[in-house]
């Protein structure tokens, strides 16, 4: 695995109600291509802020985010939009699918924001979307609307959409946050499949320990910093939980 994502001295300060909150306190991080990284930690530990900064969603107060050696925060709005569109596939816990579009159109939606989407491209995209949905066992639901899908099915559609532009990074924030255990395992298996079959770099934010079984790298965060050289990540995560 070669070096792929790198952050240097990453800081993020929020100003909430006149108070400074340091969400990230100088993060140095390297993620290799094809890695399957799960960020864990308590609420407010800064894991989502870190991931959103890597994904080009939150501008850091200080430091750099290098993807393949390029600092993404030196890009302008258009370039950054293009970067998000082509390099990253996003998945969110909720508000993920547009209710007015059917499954197929939801999946191809990122493509409409790409510069070139002619008739030929449109047909190719639809074929690709159907192929992805088939791979995720959703072919029968191609014409369904989000309201007609279960939570697990909605996740599968969101995964297909994240893959449609063939991005190198899949970034998911609490992708199984509101799912039952069985469905959560199914979704995690899909992520494993994506990591293995499509060679995508996965960056997941989650509170769920179920991910620990499948992740290649686990990063635990606390108070805007990364716990390094953990002998037992679970212990680190659990540290402080239910203790005074």
């Amino acid at each position: 695995m070669s070096e792929f994502i790198e952050t240097k001295g990453l800081k993020k300060i929020y100003h909430v109600g006149g108070q400074k909150v340091e969400a990230l306190q100088g993060i140095d991080l390297e993620i290799a291509r094809g890695d399957f990284v799960v960020f864990m930690g308590h609420s407010g530990s800064g894991k989502t802020t870190l991931v959103s900064t890597i994904g080009g969603l939150t501008r850091p107060t200080e430091g750099t985010v290098l993807i393949e050696g390029n600092d993404i925060w030196k890009l302008n709005d258009k370039q950054l939009s293009h970067f998000r569109n082509r390099k990253i596939g996003f998945m969110f816990q909720s508000f993920s699918l547009l209710p007015t579009l059917n499954v197929l159109n939801n999946v191809v939606m990122p493509a409409i924001f790409s510069a070139n989407s002619g008739k030929k491209d449109s047909d190719t995209l639809k074929s690709k979307a159907i192929s992805l949905l088939t791979d995720l066992d959703m072919k029968r639901k191609v014409n369904s609307f989000p309201s007609e899908l279960s939570g697990g099915e909605q996740r599968r559609v969101a995964i297909a959409r994240a893959l449609i532009n063939d991005p190198e990074i899949i970034l998911a924030d609490e992708p199984t946050g509101d799912l039952d255990i069985r469905t959560e395992r199914e979704v995690i298996d899909i992520f494993c499949h994506i990591n293995n079959a499509y060679q995508k770099t996965l960056i997941i934010v989650s509170h769920s320990l179920t991910w620990l079984e499948k992740a290649k790298t686990i990063i635990v965060m606390k108070d805007g910093l990364i716990f390094k050289d953990l002998a037992d990540p679970v212990e680190a995560i659990m540290d402080g939980v239910c203790k005074p």
Binding site: T49, S81, N85, F90, F92, S94, F113, D173
Partner: protein, 468 residues
């Protein structure tokens, strides 16, 4: 799938809210469209009359108390091409005096305006003496029914009312508009002392009451005047009575032959029977008397209003009315009314846009997470802005079309309520204006919230989710 389709689907997702927004725009567009149509139709109607009679002055007997007050005289008549005055007369001999003051006022007014300098394109020679046409109105029994019979001098009348056309028949052979002015001097001899002698052929009445040519004033037997029993009919009258060219008509026991039927002009002329003035004067025992004189200035920008003032000031027993001035008063009235209603409507639209702005802002902020998601998957600020603009462009377009249709209906109602008397005229311009107004109203309401939202940072749209 394209951004336009995405916008359309998003628009259809909130039908009730968008219907409320659209209805405000529909009302605004309908109000402005109806007002514009009515105003334009009324102005066009006035402009048409001005085009026909704008350089025409009408002189009638002063039949009201206004007769002695020049200012009141000027406001006495409505804008029309032929107001019928019965039972009051002007002596024919007064015409030269009228024309003298008229010509003097026109010349002075013309010079005051800078003459030819301020009227490019009009050669000096075009300031010709005005031409005039007398009329005598009488109620008479025509084929057993009471009708307004109007005595006219065909050649002069035709020249003054140049918009007259015949649907059938011919004008008298000698009718030649070009020499009508020279004809004035042959009908009236003006002495060096300014006195006027009327060279008029006398008529007599035979035992059956039928008019016959008698003698001229020198006592010589006059030849029967060609065309003395010619009759021309107003278009509406001929149609109503089923009369046609060559038919005979009996007026006060005298028989006339129909030589022509006039095209309808939407004026009182349409219901009249026209016979030669001299015949009418004899037939109704009104020799030397006329009911009205129409004066046509021979230049498009002649100061007819000045002439009107001069005539009302100096010539007693008459009332001069400039059609241009009357038209101006009506024009000003409609313009004032239009501006007032426009102000009311624009205020209503401003309030409407503010309401739409509030609804739209609320509606967009309800979509804030969706907007964040679109940004996250690669929608640029401009692409997001385009989605909102497309949505409201479509909404405004649809509202503009509906507003235009509603406005058409309202125009007919407004026209009746305002009693403009104009025929509603609809051009494609109104449709374009309605569409543009609808789109502009819709876009004005969206542009600021759309701009603000498209600029939002993604984490702000996902605040609860991303602030982990």
């Amino acid at each position: 799938m394209k951004i336009l389709r995405l916008a359309l689907l998003e628009l259809l997702r909130r039908p009730k809210k968008n219907l409320v927004i659209a209805s405000s725009i529909v009302i605004a567009v309908a109000l402005l469209t109806s007002l514009s149509i009515v105003s334009n139709s009324a102005n066009l109607a006035i402009m048409e009359i001005i085009a026909k009679t704008g350089h025409t002055l009408t002189v009638r007997p002063a039949v009201t108390s206004a007769g002695t007050n020049p200012e009141e005289k000027n406001q006495e008549y409505k804008l029309t091409t032929s107001e019928v005055v019965l039972g009051s007369y002007i002596p024919e001999a007064a015409v030269p005096e009228i024309m003298k003051y008229y010509d003097k006022a026109i010349k002075e007014g013309w010079e005051k305006k800078g003459g030819l300098v301020s009227n490019p394109g009009i050669p000096e020679t075009s300031l010709e003496p005005a031409t005039w046409a007398p009329r005598l109105f009488e109620k008479a029994e025509v084929d057993g029914q009471e009708v307004i019979v109007t005595g006219i001098e065909i050649r002069k009348e035709y020249f003054v009312r140049f918009w007259w056309n015949l649907t059938s028949g011919d004008w008298p052979a000698e009718t030649d508009v070009r020499d009508v002015n020279t004809n004035v001097s042959t009908l009236y001899t003006i002495g060096s002392d300014g006195k006027v002698t009327i060279d008029k052929t006398e008529y007599g009445v035979d035992s059956s009451g039928r008019l016959i040519a008698a003698q001229d004033k020198t006592g010589k037997a006059a030849p029967i005047l060609k065309g003395w029993d010619d009759a021309y009919l107003g278009g509406a009258y001929a149609k109503a009575k089923g009369l046609k060219l060559g038919d005979k008509l009996t007026i006060n026991k005298s028989e006339f032959t129909i030589r022509g039927v006039l095209e309808e002009t939407n004026s009182a002329d349409d219901y009249m029977v026209f016979i030669p003035l001299s015949t009418a004067q004899k037939l109704f025992n009104k020799e030397g008397q006329i009911s009205m004189v129409s004066v046509r200035a021979m230049c498009p920008n002649c100061p007819v209003g000045d002439a009107m003032v001069e005539l009302n000031k100096h010539v007693t027993g008459i009332t001069a009315v400039s059609q241009l001035d009357v038209a101006g008063v009506q024009f000003d009235f409609f313009n004032m009314l239009y501006k007032f209603l426009l102000a009311v409507i624009v205020s209503t639209i401003a309030v409407g846009i503010f309401s739409i702005f509030n609804i739209v802002t609320g509606s967009l902020y309800a979509r804030i997470r969706e907007i964040g998601m679109l940004k996250a998957i690669g929608a640029s600020r401009f692409q997001l802005f385009r989605i909102f603009i497309y949505e409201h462009f479509i909404l405004g377009l649809a509202a503009g079309i509906c507003g235009y249709v509603l406005g058409l209906g309202m125009a007919y109602i407004l026209n009746t309520l305002l009693d403009t008397g104009a025929v509603i005229r609809i051009t494609t311009d109104f449709l374009w204006r309605a569409l543009i107004l609808g789109i502009v109203c819709s876009l004005v309401a969206i542009i600021y919230p759309a701009y603000k939202l498209s600029k939002l940072k993604i984490t702000e749209t996902f605040r609860t989710q991303w602030e982990g």
